[in-house]
């Protein structure tokens, strides 16, 4: 027997199949039991009783995309730290812990500088904060642009 074979992943596949069969099966069985009287009004999107205006697939607040960008950086970092974390204790046992700790701290240091940069830039605020100076600066710039145009 090999040290590690893929048989141990069998339950994963079985569980996924069971989950899919459960949903599809319940919907098919329900088809025999439930009423089916579609009408124009029922098939409208719910908008508090009014006729729906336009589609919901429109442009969305850009904050969500900033959050997802920051997330990707930190999630990849998490994925990269897992192997180091898993071997840390073993290396510590053979007096090599300092090496692992140093590389870990270096890595975390880079990340911390990243989060500090984001914080300073105001990208961690949901509503981007502005000072009175930045407000006046933006207003003057907008006025200057209007004059040249």
């Amino acid at each position: 027997m090999p040290a590690y074979n893929l048989d141990v992943y069998m339950p994963v596949v079985i569980l996924m199949v069971i989950a899919i069969v459960m949903v599809v099966g319940a919907l098919l069985v329900g088809k025999l039991l439930r009423p089916h009287n579609p009408s124009e009004l029922k098939e409208q999107a719910y908008e508090c009783g009014e006729d729906p205006v336009g589609t919901a697939w429109s442009n969305f607040n850009v904050r969500f995309y900033v959050v997802s960008l920051i997330f990707i950086i930190f999630d990849v970092e998490g994925a990269l730290m897992f192997p180091v974390a898993a071997i840390f204790k073993k290396f510590n046992g053979i007096a090599q812990g300092g090496l692992v700790l140093a590389s870990l701290l270096l890595f975390i240091g880079v990340l911390v500088s990243g989060i500090v940069y984001c914080w300073k830039k105001g990208d961690l605020d949901w509503v981007k904060s502005f000072t009175l100076e930045s407000y006046h600066h933006d207003r003057d710039q907008a006025q200057a642009e209007r004059k040249t145009a």
Partner: protein
């Protein structure tokens, strides 16, 4: 290391081996793989059914506990103490008309609840119920749970997007950003526990702990207590539980991402949510609260077989059931706390949610990670209690 998973647990028993030999003789090929598949399938089937039952009872517990907190009766008509309420709800759901909005994306609308269910059920494969009765002990266990449970976030976002309704879209966007944001502090807290346990396998992590509270990882050192708090808050947000239930905030978004879902489709979203709460409570119990460890080694073979004098086979079974009892007790207590929090705290605003995640939990989790790493390096992985006992013993030796 005692048993790897259900198959190796049962394959050590003589009747299993006898049956295997007989089948091999009758069918003329090596039946070990086939037997393993059957055992896996039966075990997975049992686990799924038990979990669906727990999910159903979870909805009952939620209503009963909230009724207790608000001095009401709660469900008390169907069955004794209203215990069968969830079955009545299920029957009602399956009889409801299945409405598909005309403007919706039909395929994504169909796939969204399936993704939620698959993401939750796949995590059950590595949930460590006991040392033997675990479906499988993957060597990447913790990482696998993080990865697969992300499918739920995709399901929630697709549910919101595919409905083509403004409420759903808002709920789905909020859900996606919330789930991915809180994954960062949760991951960082889990990495710290992986360091303490010395591996990604749940069995390795649980075996590194003991049955009594001072042997659990939560009380290993001062940082781990904070780490547990961060993990617990992040876990509430990952499962969209109050006070982080913004994706389905009923007072502002009607019903959030599942506004347009009716009948069984809605039921599967709800079931997935309740089972997921149980799963993450189980993960918290395994990582921080000693998992299936039973105090004083009561579940070990040495105790049950050698000291009490039970025969080998019953001793093994009783030991496993004691371990399951330990695990389920811890998980259900955490489940109770989750429900209790829901009916105690008001909901957060979106900006407060993001501030809490990125400006408080993430820096705290990073600080904890460094603290725990340095602790392991300085004290060679010993817990603070061990250090106290050692210095106490050394001081006593001096006098």
């Amino acid at each position: 290391m005692m048993n790897d998973n259900v198959v190796s647990f049962f394959s050590e028993a003589p009747p299993y081996q006898a049956l295997n030999e007989k089948l091999t003789y009758l069918l003329n090929f090596d039946t070990r793989g086939m037997m393993a598949f059957v055992v896996y399938f039966v075990a997975a089937f049992v686990v799924v059914n038990v979990m669906a039952l727990i999910g159903g009872l979870g909805t009952y517990a939620e209503r009963k506990i909230s009724a207790d907190i608000q001095m009401r009766q709660g469900p008390n008509r169907v069955g004794p103490f209203g215990l069968l309420q969830f079955l009545a709800d299920g029957v009602k759901m399956i009889m409801k008309e299945d409405i598909l909005p005309k403007a919706a994306d039909k395929y994504l609308f169909f796939i969204a609840p399936i993704l939620c269910m698959v993401g939750v059920f796949a995590t059950l494969a590595v949930l460590p119920f006991s040392s033997g009765f675990t479906l499988t002990h993957l060597n990447i266990g913790v990482f696998y749970v993080l990865g697969v449970s992300s499918l739920v976030g995709v399901g929630i976002f697709l549910g919101g997007y595919s409905s083509n309704s403004k409420w759903s879209m808002l709920g789905g966007m909020r859900g996606a950003s919330q789930i991915i944001s809180y994954e960062v502090p949760v991951t960082l807290s889990i990495i710290a526990m992986v360091m303490l346990g010395g591996g990604l396998n749940f069995q390795t992590i649980v075996d590194g702990q003991g049955g009594l509270p001072h042997q659990w990882f939560i009380f290993h050192n001062p940082f781990t207590i904070i780490s547990f708090v961060v993990f617990f808050i992040g876990m509430l947000a990952e499962t969209n539980r109050a006070p982080f239930d913004l994706p389905e905030a009923e007072s502002e978004l009607v019903s959030g991402y599942h506004t347009e879902f009716t009948g069984m489709r809605f039921a599967f979203f709800a079931l997935a949510e309740y089972v997921e709460v149980f799963v993450v409570c189980g993960v918290a119990a395994a990582l921080y609260l000693g998992g299936y460890q039973v105090p004083f080694g009561l579940s070990s073979l040495e105790f049950l077989h050698t000291k009490v004098g039970l025969p080998m086979a019953p001793a093994r079974m009783i030991g496993q059931f004691l371990e399951i009892g330990g695990f389920v007790t811890k998980t259900v207590l955490l489940y109770y706390v989750v429900i209790w929090i829901r009916w105690t705290l008001p909901r957060l605003r979106v900006d407060q949610l993001m501030t809490l995640c990125w400006k408080y939990l993430t820096p705290i989790a990073l600080f904890n990670l460094v603290g725990i790493a340095v602790w392991i390096y300085l004290f060679n992985g010993e817990s603070m209690w061990n250090l106290v006992f050692k210095t106490g013993a050394a001081a006593a030796g001096h006098h």
